[in-house]
């Protein structure tokens, strides 16, 4: 998976890039738009972002405070239109504020994992040799340990705060991006445009970031949508095992606690469950659209 070779060669001289930028974006959007499911994903994503942004407008105040009788059914009390949980907390407020938490988990954890992945993958792929061997054994080791068990250990060590959960998810998810970046670097490092840059005396770091990385990124960007989706699912699995952060209204916490009243008051767990499902779905659909847009070989 890489950009068209002709497009890549066109990138040899970075100075030639600017006039092409809007064109690339337009091309990208045209391709993305062709996939209707991806557009649907984008719409869902925009809705989730809107919920996160408008949380304080639509449901102002602390989402963890008591607003009505515990376990109020949905559509029975205007104070809590979607009902309340065991402690009388407004479920709508939880969903809105939870969108922030979930997006934050998705985005920050993905940035951490992709960041680590890029550094390790780039170094290993660019230099190869013993550096590659050492880094790959290290990556192997990480990939060998079941990620969720490692995550549990990290949360056991750092405590179940939102920060440590996000950090933990980032730490357990970097191996796949690292391998991808490495593979791209290995195939790109001997291309003419890289050799050209190198022979012009460009320093390795500059070559990595300015020449190779932009070309190695597309598959990683696509994969980032997978990491975002898994991050949200991982947080909910932690909350299932009572290792969520109770200081924040998070969808994972809401399901984790709501499932104990699932049989009598289904909405407490099911509504955040649907929120997670739709959000993860939006990431997957957008990822697919991105893949088709960035990887024209697959175009129909």
């Amino acid at each position: 998976m890489s950009l068209d070779p002709d497009l890549a060669t066109a990138l040899v001289e970075p100075s030639e890039l600017p006039p092409e930028e809007p064109g690339r974006l337009a091309v990208f959007w045209r391709r993305f738009r062709r996939n209707r499911a991806a557009v649907f994903g984008l719409v869902l994503f925009v809705l989730v972002v809107a919920a996160a942004l408008l949380a304080d407008v639509i449901t102002p105040g602390d989402p963890l405070r008591r607003v009505a009788q515990p376990l109020t059914d949905p559509f029975t009390n205007p104070v809590a239109p979607l009902g309340t949980d065991q402690l009388g907390r407004d479920i709508l407020a939880g969903l809105m504020h939870g969108a922030r938490v979930s997006l934050m988990i998705g985005v920050v954890a993905t940035l951490i994992s992709v960041g680590i992945g890029i550094v390790i993958g780039a170094v290993a792929g660019y230099w190869g040799g013993w550096v590659d061997d050492v880094l790959m054994r290290f990556t192997d080791a990480f990939q060998t340990v079941p990620s969720f068990i490692l995550l549990l250990a990290l949360v056991a060590i750092m405590g179940a705060s939102l920060e440590s959960i996000i950090f933990g998810i980032g730490i357990v998810s970097w191996t796949s991006p690292a391998r991808m970046v490495r593979a791209e670097f290995m195939s790109l490092r001997h291309r003419e445009f890289v050799e050209a840059a190198r022979s012009l005396g460009q320093r390795p770091v500059a070559t990595i970031f300015r020449e190779i990385l932009p070309n190695a990124l597309p598959p990683v960007i696509v994969f980032a949508s997978v990491i975002m989706a898994t991050s949200i699912l991982l947080e909910s699995a932690l909350a299932f095992l009572a290792l969520g952060d109770p200081n924040h209204a998070s969808w994972g916490n809401m399901i984790g606690q709501g499932r104990s009243v699932l049989r009598s008051d289904w909405y407490v767990a099911v509504l955040p469950g649907i929120a997670i499902l739709l959000t993860v779905l939006s990431f997957s659909l957008m990822g697919e659209g991105l893949n088709e847009a960035l990887n024209p070989r697959q175009k129909k």
């Binding site: 104990s260 009598s264 008051d265």
Partner: protein, 531 residues
């Protein structure tokens, strides 16, 4: 949805379970045979009640190994002991032991077993018991069926008797003597004198015990052929298993509270707190007095006034609870008093007290912030911690909850004292001297769970605790415990906020269930299946 009326109905039905009434009216003849299957949430590494004093151990081993004395609704009743008495000075306690009792391997049970167990297990090895038996010097066996316990300081007979159901399980000397006690194979394959004989322990799956054909109560006992305990870590899944009829019972709040309420309405099941009178716990709020804000007793009292306990009882405990009145629960018999200072819910008063204490609301709406550790003991403890945070925000105190697993929680609270407030539950173990007053006594080294993590130090409290522990006159002893309760309710190192027995759910095919105040831990020799 309001459950208030339902709570009331259920609270009533726990006093007089409808099922039990029906049962007595019909009084069917007990039937022999059948396999009863029970749910357990957590697995036990050790199945030896003389090595591990914990309810989880008694739930299983109580059917296999028997104590000297058990507790019934008519008071203490001899099991392996038939009679007990104390010398005038309280330095000697004598047990007459039951004759004609055999261990499951056929060896006779004698005073040698009791003396060996007391000196080699109860005094040096058994948690809780080691404090209780600290002054035990020796156990004499004047004849095979008399055991004389010699103490260097007076031991109140009432305390000893109250402790024996939990801390008085003899082990067979002939299987332990000369072995490494901690590694003895019988620690996980117990040999006892009880109505059921241990058969197998499949880790992570189940434990099976089968009928003892040579039980001392006579050949009609026990009624059941077999008891099986299944380990199901997920409480919702356990509720489903109960509902599907795969399991007959689950004790100690083994399923979610909402399922308790829901299945309690189903005529197939009995839900209630009966059978747990001797297993009462308090949901607590614990203060770290090293924090200078919390060192001010007015702040602690204000916090108490800020807690809507009736709300917490209704929403979290679904009505199966009542407000606490200090360290001793209302089931504590003569040692309990309700004549103590109370702090009814009054958020305005709480705010006013905090203002007067010098903690006005800041620009951000917050007076001060507390770092709160919530014990990871499952659904209702977690909700109780979250309710505390919620209630405190209403009176302007920001509470940040730190969530950890059990080792990190215990370490953070009891060794590092790295907390401002904490919540959990504390079980009352028959007598205040066994574990409750230990919690309030100063002078214990850090790193010992369920001992003074508050940094609470009161010469008056310490003196009362020490006096009560060695007082022989039950009435004087009770008065000392009343004073301890009153003092605790004024000093408030910990809020014994909610008193709740545990809750069990049992399929109505089970007969004679919950017929003693520590039924889950008892021997079930008279349990039978009506099917």
């Amino acid at each position: 949805m309001t459950h208030r009326t339902l709570f009331a109905a259920l609270a009533l039905s726990t006093v007089l379970p409808v099922a039990t009434l029906a049962q007595e009216a019909a009084a069917p003849e007990p039937k022999r045979g059948g396999t009863a299957i029970f749910h357990l949430v957590t697995e036990q590494g050790v199945l030896n009640p003389a090595l591990r004093a914990s309810t989880g151990v008694y739930q299983i081993t109580g059917k296999i190994m028997e104590p000297l004395i058990d507790l019934t609704y008519d008071g203490p009743v001899g099991v392996l002991a038939t009679d007990w008495s104390s010398s005038e000075d309280g330095l000697q306690i004598t047990f007459k032991l039951r004759e004609g009792v055999n261990w499951h391997d056929g060896e006779p049970f004698t005073c040698d077993d009791v003396a060996f167990s007391a000196m080699e297990f109860w005094k040096p090895l058994l948690n809780y018991s080691s404090t209780l038996q600290a002054n035990l010097e020796s156990v004499d066996c004047p004849d095979p069926h008399t055991a004389v316990f010699n103490y260097s300081k007076p031991m109140p007979l009432a305390l000893m008797v109250a402790a024996m159901p939990d801390l008085g399980h003899p082990v067979p000397k002939h299987l332990y003597e000369g072995t490494d006690y901690q590694r003895n194979e019988h620690n996980t394959a117990p040999v006892g004198t009880g109505p059921f004989v241990f058969r197998e322990y499949q880790r992570g799956q189940h434990i099976i015990a089968e009928r003892n054909e040579d039980y001392w109560r006579g050949e009609e006992f026990p009624y059941l052929d077999r008891v099986i305990w299944r380990f199901i870590p997920d409480k919702s899944a356990a509720a489903a298993a109960i509902e599907a009829g795969e399991i007959h019972g689950s004790g100690f709040i083994g399923i979610p509270m909402a399922d308790m309420i829901r299945l309690g309405e189903d005529p197939r099941f009995s839900v209630g707190t009966k059978g747990y009178e001797n297993n009462v716990a308090h949901s607590t709020i614990e203060f770290n007095l090293r924090n200078e804000i919390l060192a001010n007793p007015e702040v602690r009292k204000a916090i108490y006034h800020g807690l809507d306990l009736q709300f917490a009882i209704d929403s979290i405990m679904r009505g199966f609870a009542q407000e606490g009145r200090g360290p001793i629960p209302s089931t504590g018999g003569i040692n309990y008093t309700d004549d103590v200072t109370t702090y009814p819910y009054d958020p305005d008063l709480a705010r006013q007290m905090l203002d007067e204490a010098g903690y006005p609301v800041g620009n951000n709406g917050i007076r001060f912030t507390l770092r709160h550790r919530s014990a990871p003991y499952g659904e209702y403890t977690q909700l109780w911690g979250e309710y505390f945070a919620q209630a405190m925000r209403e009176i302007g105190i920001q509470v940040d909850i730190v969530t950890n697993d059990t080792p990190a929680f215990l370490n953070g609270v009891y060794r590092d004292h790295d907390f401002d407030t904490a919540n959990g539950w504390h079980q009352f173990r028959s007598d205040p001297a066994v574990s409750t007053t230990v919690w309030l006594r100063s002078g214990t080294p850090p790193g010992q769970p369920w001992t003074n993590q508050f940094g609470y130090q009161s010469a008056e409290m310490d003196a009362l605790i020490d006096a009560a522990a060695h007082e022989l006159d039950p009435a004087v002893r009770a008065d000392l415990y009343h004073q301890i309760q009153r003092l605790e309710m004024i000093d408030l190192p910990v809020i014994f906020a909610i008193e709740h027995p545990f809750i069990g759910i049992y399929n109505n095919v089970l007969m004679n269930h919950t017929n003693t105040p520590r039924w889950e831990s008892s021997s079930w020799y008279d349990l039978w299946l009506n099917q």
